[in-house]
Symmetry: C2
Subunit: 399 residues, 2 copies
Amino acid sequence: MDARRTTVRDVRRRNRSVLLSELYFHEPLSRQELSQRTGLSPGTVSNVAGELIAEGLVVEAGSVDSDGGRPRVLLRVNPGYGRVVGVDVGETRVRVESFDLTMAPLATVDYPLDSPQPRPEPVAAQILAGLREVTEQAGTGPVVGVGIGVSGTVEQGPPARVHAQTLGWDAVPLERMLREGTDLPLFIDNGAKTLGQAEMWFGAGRGTRHAVIALIGSGVGAAVITNGSTYRGATSSAGEWGHTTLVYDGRPCRCGSSGCLEAYVGAEAVLDRYREAAGSPAPGDDEESAITELVASADSSPVAARVLEETAGYLGAGIANLVNLFNPERIVLGGWAGLTLGARLLPRVREETARRALRHPYEQTSIELCRLGPDAVALGAATLPVADLLTDPGVRSPA
Amino acid sequence: MDARRTTVRDVRRRNRSVLLSELYFHEPLSRQELSQRTGLSPGTVSNVAGELIAEGLVVEAGSVDSDGGRPRVLLRVNPGYGRVVGVDVGETRVRVESFDLTMAPLATVDYPLDSPQPRPEPVAAQILAGLREVTEQAGTGPVVGVGIGVSGTVEQGPPARVHAQTLGWDAVPLERMLREGTDLPLFIDNGAKTLGQAEMWFGAGRGTRHAVIALIGSGVGAAVITNGSTYRGATSSAGEWGHTTLVYDGRPCRCGSSGCLEAYVGAEAVLDRYREAAGSPAPGDDEESAITELVASADSSPVAARVLEETAGYLGAGIANLVNLFNPERIVLGGWAGLTLGARLLPRVREETARRALRHPYEQTSIELCRLGPDAVALGAATLPVADLLTDPGVRSPA
DNA sequence: ACTGCTTTTTTCAAGCTCTGAAATATTGAT
DNA sequence: ATCAATATTTCAGAGCTTGAAAAAAGCAGT
């Protein structure tokens, strides 16, 4: 099927990748441990590690006793080998953040969007300005790459194009637009997917290979991770959980269809349902505080309690669908509304999911809350160039 | 992540696989064409092909002029290298079928199941008997492997266990039970998945890498193919489309939940809905003829027309969910009921899907009918050992 | 028949890569 | 100092692919 030849050189590429990845996620490690973990012979580990050290990607860092014998020299990824930048193009602001190679944050800038439906050109300009800014601030070493998480679906190009209904963007060639201002490697992806990536590397998804990060904000989205990598489908718009029909011919959804999950458990939808049930809007200046208020009032207000109870039902059913279709090891519930609602509703959501999902896949799944919060979109985006580096560490020029 | 070392030997393994697969799906091919298609140098192709020929996996088959020069020698996979057996453990019978390596059918035997809830032991005995039978009948060459498609979810072991609610099987160690009667390599999988595999190789899924085979029989299932291979999830029970909630708190489903897709578009459910609407059961002795009758009567019976129209709506919504979540290139509608209903309803189903799915992923998808019919479960199962052979052609002993 | 021309296959030295075994390095204990 | 215990490095050996050159196999014309 996959008619791609393999040469001896690919062997080295792959083994460099295996070694570096192992080190990245389990540092510090001695050559000897590395040999055991990767299955490579000590000779090869020594050889490859030497190469990586010479290139500056890896550094020796102290040593540790080994009862009686020569001490083990510990190796780590060199955080200063280079920097990566993550960009979060949200619905209200552009955030640009830089990190060292081990994802320690270095600098951040935020730009508010001037309109809820900003034109793409100024946004691209903001991204480029932010890029310059964080690059000039703290940190040394070349920028290895830039990851960009956008709240919309991204058609992987080249050049990548962005379709974002909420921003009013249709097939915006963001990659080409940025390309005019920078030569750095660019990685553009959907924001929900980059957030999912962040949870997989550093949050509640750690250690699993099959997970779904279910995100509830004003809208609803998901990142599906299968076999350790983000599931994209044919044109990388997979995972549109929010617009999955849950209530046939139910409430109208902003996508034009009706009965979508988002029309029931999205923050906006929850508040709408409350308003209809209570006859008056939920208190709070904005969606975010309104949801918080709603959850807080559940103990005293029967109406709020009922709306939340119903929400748990819908959400449980939506999650059960994920369980049945994807059979993940873990479902991670996040997004700002997901966290607020989940803090109270998680046990009920688990029950409702159990009631509706098939027993066998349900038993294989744990349902948990996100650990990183909704601001991790930029972190996850910055992860993309690092992942690329780990997958194929070798094409780039040494520092 | 994937801490697996690679050695020089893997290079040969992979290239053997690439070459053999290319040949399998595009034969006949000359060495020179093979070199172009795989990207391997002529020298390597010659070398690897020679090895495969010596082992009997590949044969030279005629030659073809090449204007003016030395004629090209055509190569093909040797159909007589060995045989494969496919088993279909359905709800009413066990079918065992043998094929040559290129999937030309050689022999078939059927055994009716003595009860709708047969005990596993006699079924295993029937499989083994069928295996002996088809092996002794037509065909020569050793049996390379046996694939088994079971109507239930299969927990890939080892040993593989089968959970089949309709058969009344719970964690049946089918692999171990068969192992006592044969030493052949066994591949056990869900019947919907093997049928999907058959459609991918020889049916409506050919040429795509991302597809969903949606199957409607008495129940409803699906096989999801991503990146060219069947999606299994963490414990290989992924793709349970039929028990996905489509109508929140809707009709009760035999799985214990309610509002499942299966409770609306499964053959049994369609007939139930007709009975409720018409006040009398649909004509026909069994489910299959009843569905056929129902479709046939739609032009004259308003009730039948309405039930079918509603079915198209539910099915369209269910398919739209697949489109949104998996973003496939193609949706293939099959199963005996799916084919009968689809013959009439396909245009309406497409419309309903379009109405409910997101525009972008919908435009990437074509919706078609199965080409192989529901009997291809055994064919698809027999495909499993072949796929294994193509992936790693080398461990086995030469013919 | 023989020669020249064209195109396909095979052959082969070179250059990589991993491995297992042996050699070397490093440190604490005697 | 010397020994013992480990950790690393070195190195010959074997397996791969490659690109170039050589060989093979027809066809056409003389």
